[in-house]
Each structure stands twice: as C-alpha cells, then as structure tokens.
C-alpha cells in the first residue's frame, strides 16, 4: 500500500471536520499519528473521544489553510539570506544536512552558502518537515531564493 501526500491531506481534513482530537493509523509499513495541538495524549491505537476543551477551540495539526484544497499554500519557505554557492552537505560526499521528510527546528542547519570561501551555515528558521529541496548542490543561489519548502509543525 502506498500512502501519498494527498492521502495525508484527506486524513487531516477528516480529522479537522470531526469532533475527535487524535487519529492513529497503522497499515502495512506505515504508522501515522495525528493530533490536534493542545489535545492530551491518550494511549491506545483506537481514537477515543477526548474531553471537549474549555475556551477557544484548539488549533488543528496544521494551520487552517493546509486543510483546504490548496495544500501548497500552507508550506513555509526557507529562503537564501545571501547570494552564494549552496551546499546541502557539510563536505563533499558527506550525508546531507537534511533530506525530504526530515524534521527541522528553527535552529537546524539545512545547508551552507559559500561566499568567497567563507562558509555560512543556513538555519531553517522554521519548525516542520522538509517536503521539497529546491536548491541544487554546488549551484549559485540568489539572495531571497527559495531553498526548501517545509510543512509547518
């Protein structure tokens, strides 16, 4: 069974439209846990109705726009803070700082931009999961160019 990006989106919509706060799914080779922010952890595979929170409704797993059909609009961009040569790994042949699917935090190093032999470490600046790496290794990136796209945490 293959699980696509669209499938996850559909599940998110389902959860968002429901009165449940969590959804856990286990299928062949995949384990997915979705939880509304602020919902308390409940053990067990089967989704159980959580107590209805007081006050304002808790925020969904992803910001509201992500639940709409245009999921691309919800992605965050990591942009180049300077012009230079982009490297996705700390040195040639080494494992890349991040790959698609990696979780990044604000301070996570996601690449290097070299300007006149000076290596500038590039921090993600956002929290989330890398869904696309736009910049190619060893290529000139311009100031403000999109390096990666991240689905917010």
């Amino acid at each position: 069974m293959s699980f696509s990006h669209e499938d996850v989106q559909r599940l998110l919509q389902l959860l968002d439209a429901s009165h449940f706060d969590e959804l856990d799914l286990e299928a062949e080779g995949i384990k997915l846990s979705l939880r509304r922010r602020g919902a308390s952890l409940v053990a067990g595979l089967v989704a159980t109705p959580a107590p209805v929170p007081e006050g304002p409704r808790s925020t969904p797993v992803v910001p509201a726009p992500a639940a709409s059909a245009d999921s691309a609009g919800a992605l965050l961009e990591i942009r180049a803070p300077m012009l230079g040569t982009f490297y996705g790994a700390p040195k040639p042949g080494a494992a890349p700082f991040v790959s698609v699917g990696a979780r990044v935090g604000r301070d996570s190093a996601v690449g290097i931009i070299e300007v006149m032999k000076l290596m500038n470490s590039i921090a993600a600046g956002v929290d989330g999961e890398v869904v696309e790496i736009v910049a190619s290794d060893g290529e000139l990136v311009e100031f403000d160019q999109v390096l990666m796209r991240v689905r917010p945490a």
Binding site: L83, E114, F143, D144
Partner: protein, 468 residues
C-alpha cells in the same frame, strides 16, 4: 537616443571576455548593458531586491539578486559580487561609477579570483584614491597642485594656512567627490572647523587625516578624459563641470568653453603626464581647478572610473568609452592614437534628479507615473526610468541625463533648452525647471563662469522669490 559608436568595434572574439557581471544599477547599468549587447558580450546584472524589476534587469541577459535594497547589504558587498561573477561564469565585472568602482579591495578581490575588473589596477585605485598620494604623484609628474599640504594638528594647520593665505579648504585625505570639504575664511574659523573636519573624515571615510589647500575664489572645474593601456596614454578632450551645487555637478559640457588654446593644450599634456607617471590602465579623468583670475590651473584629483558625464565626450568624439574601457581591460593595447581622436562640435548634459528644488534640494523619491523624453537629432537621453519605476530612497536621486549636441555651443544649448521644455516626468519632483532657467541665463549663454555661478544664481532666485 543617438548612440555613440566606435569606429573600431570590438568583437567578442578579440579577447577573453564573453560575459560581464554589471555590478551597478540605474542609468549606468543600462548604459553598460547597451554596449555589451552591441559587442555581443553576455550581460548579467547584479541587482538588489529593489532593482529586480528595473529597466536594466529587463535588458540584461540574466539578473541575479545580490541582496536587500540597502546598498551596504547588496551593491557594496565585495564577496557577494565576486561570488556572483564566479557563479554565473562571468570573466569580468564592470563596476560603473559610485558603489565599489573606486574601492581597491574590490579590484584586488576580482583579480585574486581570476576575474577581470573593468577599470584600473587595485594599486592605481589606491594611489589616486588617497588624495595626499595623488598630490604627491602630481608633483612628481610636474603637474601644478593647489598650494597646501598635509597637517597633523591644528597648530600645523594654522601655520600652513598663514603661508598659503586665507580662505583655505580643509579636505579629507580619504575623501573625494566634494565630500568631506570645509572652508575656513579666518584663523578663528580654522580653529573651530579643524577638529570637526577630522572627526567627520574619520566617520565618513575611516581615515581622520586631513590636509588643507588654498581656496581658489574664481575657479572653473575643467577635467580631461584620458585613456591608458598601462603603456600609452591618450586624451579624449576636456569637459567643463563648473555648474555645481555644494560640489555636486549639475551641468557638464565638452569642450570647456572659452579656454585659451595654449592653456587647453597644457591641461591635456598635464593630464597625460599624470596618468603616464602611474602607468595608468583604463578610462580615467584628471580634474583641474582653473584659476580664472591668474590664468593658471591646478591638479585637483583623478577619478579612476567611468564618469557620470562621459556622454558629452562620446558625443563630440564619436567613441564608445565603455567599449574602449573593455578593450584595455582585457589586455589589448590602445586601438587609437592621439591623431585618431577627432573632436567635433559641442555637447551639454543636464543631470535630472528626483529632488525638491524648493526645499533645499531634498531627494524626492516616489513612483514614476509617466515619462516622456523627446527623440530628436542631436539629442541623447541616458535613463533607467519608465512608467511604474520606483525611485527608491535607498539610492542616488539622479534619474536621467539629457545630452544635446550641436556644431556650436549655442546650437547645443538651444537644443537642450527646447528638449527640456518637452521632457515630462510625472509622479516625482525633478529639477528640470531649474535646468531650463539656468540654461537661459546670460552667464550660461556666455560660458566660462566659475564654480560659484550656480550658488549666486540660486541666492538671487531665492531673494527674488522672497521679495514677491
């Protein structure tokens, strides 16, 4: 516009330069790209985020964004520009004027990375950029300098001023382009200004050293365009840039009107002596202060770059100065002898600035909603503005240069006056109306006035407005 064209054009096959990174913006970026296109050389514009949609960006074969709008974070970043040149595969960088054009570190960084800097060597930029060193070079080349010299402290300044006579100008060793100048008419003024001048020089140029020079009351600003290949140097005639406001040039013309022929020849010879003394390679301008009363001249400084006012020289010589600059930058010998340089007619240029002439000429940024420049024979417009163009507060307020040429000075002047009456720039305030007034004055018609002309004109105009 009528394009100046070299009789001997450079084809891309003549040298190693196939792609040039244009490290500048505005009208000069447009001007440089135009020549690159004509020569069949690829152009890559290094643009700040504010200039991504500019006319130059549209004209260039490629544009790379080098940083945010603030020049310190984009156009002034040496490492970024060298990296950009390498990254796009450019063999050369054209620095234009302003920004990094006269920073020896930039020229050095380019050559260290195997990139041709279209300009003089780092060492030459260093020598002429240091005003004291330039004075020393002039003296060695037997070119008369303005009486004066370096002073370490106030008492030395007072002693020297006593010798050369008041008024004196206090100048920053690292300054230039009229910046960092202070005038002292009396010893008391020198005392009050000296420390201030030094402190300002330190903060503005990173060098607190100053020198003093005799203030020439009736001086004309005359400069000689030279071109050198490191071995030979020729001149491409002279220009008069005496219409200045606070040492900023407003109207320039070529040739300088009404100079005695003997003096003109001496000026050309002095400029060549100076450039030869430092084995100058590239396009450059040697500036002189012509002492009208005493009929003699003094070396002021050398500008080691293409100048804003270069079109007036192109219009009377038929040469493309950017093309010549590129040719010598890629190691070619001069393609012209002095005898090949034929100067004919007269050309006058007005610098159109987005500024509020009614409020102390403060810059008036905004969005250009409409533009019209007439297109006539004998008229050239170098500009980067078009409807929708944003005149950013981050950069210089100059938005266009209108250049008229003719067989005679009067013909050029009339054409310029008529052209300016048709110029229409909507959305931002400009100094077009002031230019028309200046061009119509009897003093301008006569020509040969000193650098105090515009100041006197503005003072009288202000007084007349106050009386009404």
């Amino acid at each position: 516009m009528s394009e100046a064209s070299s009789t001997m054009d450079l084809s891309a096959a003549d040298g190693p330069i196939r792609r040039v990174l244009v490290a500048n913006r505005g009208e000069i970026a447009v001007r440089i790209i135009r020549t690159l296109k004509r020569l069949g050389i690829d152009s890559v514009l290094a643009a700040s985020a504010a200039d991504r949609e500019s006319m130059a960006a549209r004209m260039a074969d490629r544009t790379v964004c080098i940083g945010p709008a603030r020049a310190a974070d984009s156009y002034l970043r040496i490492g970024t520009l060298v990296e950009a040149a390498r990254g796009v595969g450019a063999q050369a960088v054209h620095p234009g004027y302003g920004f990094l054009s006269e920073r020896s570190e930039f020229a050095a960084a380019c050559s260290d990375n195997g990139i041709i800097f279209i300009g003089p060597t780092a060492e030459q930029i260093e020598r002429v950029g240091n005003k004291l060193e330039a004075r020393r070079c002039a003296e060695e080349a037997q070119v008369q300098v303005v009486p004066g010299g370096p002073v370490d402290n106030l008492s030395a300044a007072l002693t020297l001023a006593e010798q050369i006579g008041y008024p004196v100008l206090i100048k920053a060793v690292g300054g230039g382009g009229g910046r960092g100048l202070k005038r002292a008419n009396t010893p008391a003024e020198l005392e009050s200004q000296f420390e201030l001048a030094s402190a300002e020089a330190l903060s503005a140029f990173g060098d607190g050293r100053v020198y003093i020079e005799c203030f020439v009351k009736q001086g004309r600003h005359v400069e000689v365009q030279i071109l050198g290949d490191g071995h030979s140097v020729i001149h491409l005639g002279d220009r008069d840039c005496s219409v200045q406001r606070r040492y900023q040039k407003l109207i320039e013309e070529a040739p300088a009107p009404g100079l005695p022929e003997g003096m003109r020849c001496e000026l050309h010879a002095a400029a060549i002596r100076f450039a030869k003394h430092i084995n100058y390679r590239s396009l450059g301008t040697v500036e002189f202060l012509v002492d009208v009363a005493r009929q003699r001249f003094h070396f002021l400084e050398m500008n080691a770059r293409i100048q804003v006012e270069h079109p007036v020289t192109e219009q009377i010589s038929g040469l493309d100065l950017v093309a010549e600059q590129i040719a010598v930058a890629q190691g070619q010998r001069l393609r012209l002898t002095q005898a090949d340089v034929r100067l004919a007619g007269h050309a006058i240029e007005c610098r159109i600035n987005a500024e509020d002439t009614a409020h102390d000429f403060r810059p008036a940024p905004g969005k250009v909603s409409g533009v019209h420049f007439p297109a006539w024979p004998g008229l050239r417009v170098d500009t980067h503005i078009e409807p929708g163009a944003a005149i950013s507060p981050f950069y210089d307020s100059m938005i266009a240069k209108v250049i008229a040429s003719g067989d005679t000075r009067e013909q050029a002047r009339q054409r310029l006056e008529a052209a300016l009456s048709e110029v229409h720039i909507a959305g931002v305030l400009t100094n077009v109306a002031l230019h028309r007034e200046v061009l119509a004055t009897p003093e301008f018609r006569a020509g040969g006035f000193d650098t105090g002309f515009l100041g006197r004109f503005l003072a009288e105009r202000g007084a007349a407005a106050a009386a009404n």
